[in-house]
Each structure stands twice: as C-alpha cells, then as structure tokens.
C-alpha cells in the first residue's frame, strides 16, 4: 500500500466518522438548523421593520438583503470554524482523544479530512438557511452573480480553516474550558468584520482590525456580487487578501498545533477528558 493510499484512507476515516456522528445525532442537527434559521430570520426582520422603527422611508428590500447576506456568510464561516476548532474538544468530550492522537496519522492528514467535512457540512447548512430565508422574504437575486458568491465563500473558507486550527489548540491545552474559549475568537471577528453593518461605522481605531479579518472581505465581496451583481473579474480586490490570509493562516495554524500537541504530550494534558 502506498503512503498516499494510506493517508487518503486515514483522511476518509475522519469524514466517515463525522458523517456517522451527524446521522446518529440527527435530532441535534435539526435543533441546530432550526436555531440558526430562527436567528437569521430574527436579524433579517430588523430590515423589514426599519421603516416603522425610524419613521423614515428606506429601501427595505436592499436592507433585508444586506442583513441576509450578513447572516448567511457569518453562519457559513462560523460553522467551518466550529467544525475545525471542535475537532479536539469533541474528542475530549467523548474520551477518544488519546486513541486518535496515537494513531499513525500526520496532523495534516487529520486536518485535511476534518476540513473537507467542514466545507461540505457548512455548504449544506448554509443552503438550508438560504432556502428558509427565501421562503420568508421575496429575495430578488436576478442581478446577483452567484458564481462570484461561491468563489468568495470558498476563498474565505481558507482563512477560517486556519483560524479554526489555531483555535483547536485551546481545548488541547485547556481541557476544562478550552472549547468555551474558542467562542471569544468568533465573537471578536463578528464584532469587527461588519457582519450586520458597514465597518466604517466602527470607531476609527477599530477599523484597521476589520481589515485584518477575512470575514470583512467575504462580506464586502458578497454584497458587491449579490446587491450590485459585480462581475467575477472585479472581485480580485476581495479575493487576493483572502488567499493571502489563508496562505498564512493554514501553515501557521498547523505548525502552532504541532507545537501545542508536543507541549500537551510533555505536560500530560492529553490524559484528562473534559
């Protein structure tokens, strides 16, 4: 058996295991989907009610679509982030972390399997939200550039995979509360990335932080494609920062994870199950 076949089978082990877990926890998956749909609708209805709230004439359709884009992009990126960052937290909870980490599988193989699953799972999840939102709001996407939208989502995935890998270090090093700590990373990104508002409304000193968040570029690009129908060729200013951030975040995340794993093995932190 060639090493490539061995690694492919090992990567597939994580995909198959996660699919089996989704099947076995189908009730939880339904609850999670209902929760995210309700959340997305609640935010989007702010747009529907803005005329009544402000007493001013506003372009309600534009505002709803602006918020829908925010909820959908955020859900997509957040689901990818959690699917990667929970790879250790979940194993700690199940008590299988030692079994998985003593298998002859390089961490990169482990991450490839986990990432492949995360992207597929997140795309399906996002499609579900989009479908539900379309039922509630009469979304006019005739001018939208859907191919550009997909390209932006995939380019944005890279950085969130890298950030997710870095976040996965927390449950590795802090068995009791590491998983909860990862929420802080996501909360900061949600705050500075202009998910539901333009980043220009943030205080001037916070705006440079928005430029460091990959979500900012995905959101700005998505709004350009869905609201204004921007052509694929005009999206490069949004795509190159995402590719650059992904190109830095993934290798950096993998290296940081390897260092943290070694530290955990030196200090005996793999043993405790949180």
């Amino acid at each position: 058996m060639t090493p490539i076949v061995h690694q492919a089978r090992a990567s597939y082990a994580f995909i198959e295991r996660n699919l089996n877990l989704v099947k076995r926890y189908w009730g939880w998956e339904l609850v999670w989907m209902a929760y995210t749909i309700a959340n997305s609708l609640a935010v989007s209805y702010i747009g529907a009610g803005m005329e009544q709230i402000s007493g001013q004439k506003v372009d309600t359709h534009y505002l709803i679509l602006y918020l829908v884009i925010g909820t959908i992009v955020w859900r997509y990126l957040a689901v990818i982030f959690h699917a990667i960052s929970d790879m250790i937290g979940w194993e700690r909870w199940e008590g299988t972390i030692e079994y998985t980490l003593m298998a002859p599988v390089p961490r990169i193989t482990h991450l490839v399997g986990q990432t492949f699953f995360a992207i597929i799972y997140s795309l399906i999840h996002t499609a579900g939200i989009l479908l539900a939102t379309a039922v509630f709001f009469n979304l006019d996407l005739r001018n939208a550039n859907l191919v550009g939208t997909l390209v932006l989502l995939l380019a944005g995935s890279l950085s969130f995979i890298g950030i997710g890998i870095v976040a996965a270090i927390l449950p590795l090093l802090f068995p009791e509360r590491g998983s909860q700590m990862t929420h802080l990373i996501l909360a900061v990104l949600l705050f500075v990335s202009g998910v539901y508002y333009p980043v220009t409304v943030l205080p001037a000193w916070l705006q440079p932080l928005a430029r460091l968040s990959p979500a900012t570029y995905v959101l700005e690009g998505m709004r350009a494609t869905l609201l204004e129908g921007a052509a694929l060729t005009t999206l490069w200013p949004y795509i190159w920062p995402l590719l650059l951030m992904g190109g830095i975040a993934i290798p950096l995340g993998v290296r940081a994870f390897q260092v943290a794993e070694r530290y955990a093995k030196r200090t005996g932190r793999l043993k405790r199950n949180g």
Binding site: M1, A13, R17, R24, M102, P104
Partner: protein
C-alpha cells in the same frame, strides 16, 4: 539471539513542578514540587513475550504505557520499539503498536462497527478488509451480531471492553499494550480475552505488555513480570522466580499476591523508618 521488542532505558517522567507566579506575588516562593510518576525505569521485553507490569494504583503503570504509546514524552531516558525511538520516530512506532486502556474510549453514539471502521481506516485498512476482520474478531470474542449496529452506550461495560480489545487486535500490532484490559469483565469474558491474548501471541507473533491488578491473570498469562511501586521497578522475574522471593508459610506455596504484598509492604516500611 532474541530480538528486543521493547527497550526502556533509564526513563523518568514527572508532572507539575516549577514555580507559580501568584503565590510569589503574595510573598511566598511559589515553588511546586513535581509528582514523580515514573523514576529511572529500565527493562527489556523480548519479541513474542507476554510481559506483565503489576503495581498498586498510582504506581506509574499507566504512565509507562502512555510513554510507550507516544502519548507522553519522557523527561529523560529512551524507549525504543523494535529499534524505533518513540520520540524521534513517533510515526514508525505508532504503526507497530496499539493499546487497550482501562476506560473503553469510544464515540458513544456510534455503533461498534462504526467505531471499529474509524479505527481501522486510521491504520490504513480498506473498508472491505476492515469489515471482514471486524466480524472475525468480534465473533472470536463472542460479541453478539445483533449488538454490532447499536450505539456503544447501549452496551454493557464488559461488551464495550471487548470491542476495545477488538479495535486493538484489528490493526495487527506487533507490540500490543494492554492497560488493565480485563477490568470490569465477568469471569467468562475474562477467560475469553485471556485465551485470545495467548492466541494472538502464538499465531500472530505479537509481543504483549500487560498491566493488571489481577494476580491470577498475571500468573497465568505472563512470561515475566515487573512489580512497580511509586514509579520504580522493585522486582522483575518470571512468576516462578518472583514467588521464590517469598518464604513459604504454613507449608503453603506463595502466590503472586503474597509476593506483591510483601514487596510493596517492605518499601512502605522502609519509607516509614526513614521518615521517623
């Protein structure tokens, strides 16, 4: 000449220790004494041997198994598995070993088949090959076929432990680390597992390192036994050799339990004398 399957040379491992900053701010020295789990252990296990490690709770048996399993890094000393260093050649070692721990760690909602398929693929087995071996091993371990598709959490502790043993056997390791594998099993299941361990050694050329509290099990299975206490090996010999360390009393042949109690008792007595 015998091949050395496992070579442990002067291995030590401590946890904790160092200085804490908060007590230092409050005026203390903040120094925390490390807990010594394994202290200067040296032993060799020959290929095809069933080697037992006996010791009370906290004696360092499981830490030793984790060090061999690449789950912990030693503070000092070296461990090699068939010549591969566990620190420098981690992946090569991982391919040769597997481990059964006292707590049968599984994805509790997944079925035995789903858990075992996951384990098999991690070790590079194809789905078809894995399924064939899974059914063969589980049948050999007397795991009912109707239980294979149900979640692990619906199985008894004994059945879960059998599946854990099957998971380790599935990857055909040439060094198998069994950390109290029969704890929680009923007498019949225990005998089945013990017979399977012997079979594995005899027909699959596996070397087995076994930790146990069960003296009868150690006596029946092991070619040689090391007795550990407070991170150190205090005796190492064949079961017969160990029993010879204890004088027969009332005409009764000493058991391993007598040896164990006498040796660990001696150490404790010596410590009490030093402390006094």
């Amino acid at each position: 000449m015998d091949t050395i399957a496992l070579n442990i040379q002067h291995v030590s491992k401590s946890f904790g220790g160092g200085r804490r900053w908060l007590p230092r701010l409050r005026g203390g020295n903040g120094e925390v004494r490390p807990i010594v789990a394994v202290s200067d252990i040296t032993l060799q296990v020959r290929r095809g041997e069933i080697f037992g490690v006996l010791g009370p709770n906290g004696s360092g048996k499981s830490t030793l198994i984790r060090l061999i399993s690449t789950l912990l890094l030693p503070d000092s000393g070296t461990i090699t598995v068939f010549g591969h260093d566990v620190v420098r050649e981690e992946r090569a070692v991982q391919r040769l070993i597997n481990r059964v721990s006292v707590e049968a760690a599984f994805f509790k909602r997944l079925s035995p088949i789903e858990n075992l398929l996951y384990g098999a693929r991690l070790y590079g087995l194809s789905g078809d090959e894995a399924r064939r071996r899974i059914h063969e091993i589980l049948r050999r371990l007397d795991v009912r076929a109707d239980a294979l598709g149900k979640p692990m959490e619906e199985m008894s502790r004994g059945m879960q432990q059998k599946v854990a043993i099957a998971r380790a056997f599935l990857t055909a390791p040439i060094l198998l680390l069994l950390d109290e594998p029969t704890t929680g099993l009923d007498p019949r299941s225990k005998r089945e597992v013990q017979a399977f361990v012997r079979e594995l050694r005899d027909s699959h050329d596996a070397t087995i390192l076994l930790t146990t509290h069960d003296m009868e099990e150690a006596d029946a299975l092991c070619d040689r036994i090391a007795i550990m206490d407070e991170g150190r090996i205090i005796a190492l010999d064949t079961p017969t050799g160990l029993k010879a360390l204890v004088h027969p009393s009332n005409g009764r042949v000493p058991t391993l339990e007598d040896v164990f109690m006498q040796l660990t008792g001696k150490v404790l007595a010596e410590e009490e004398e030093i402390a006094a």
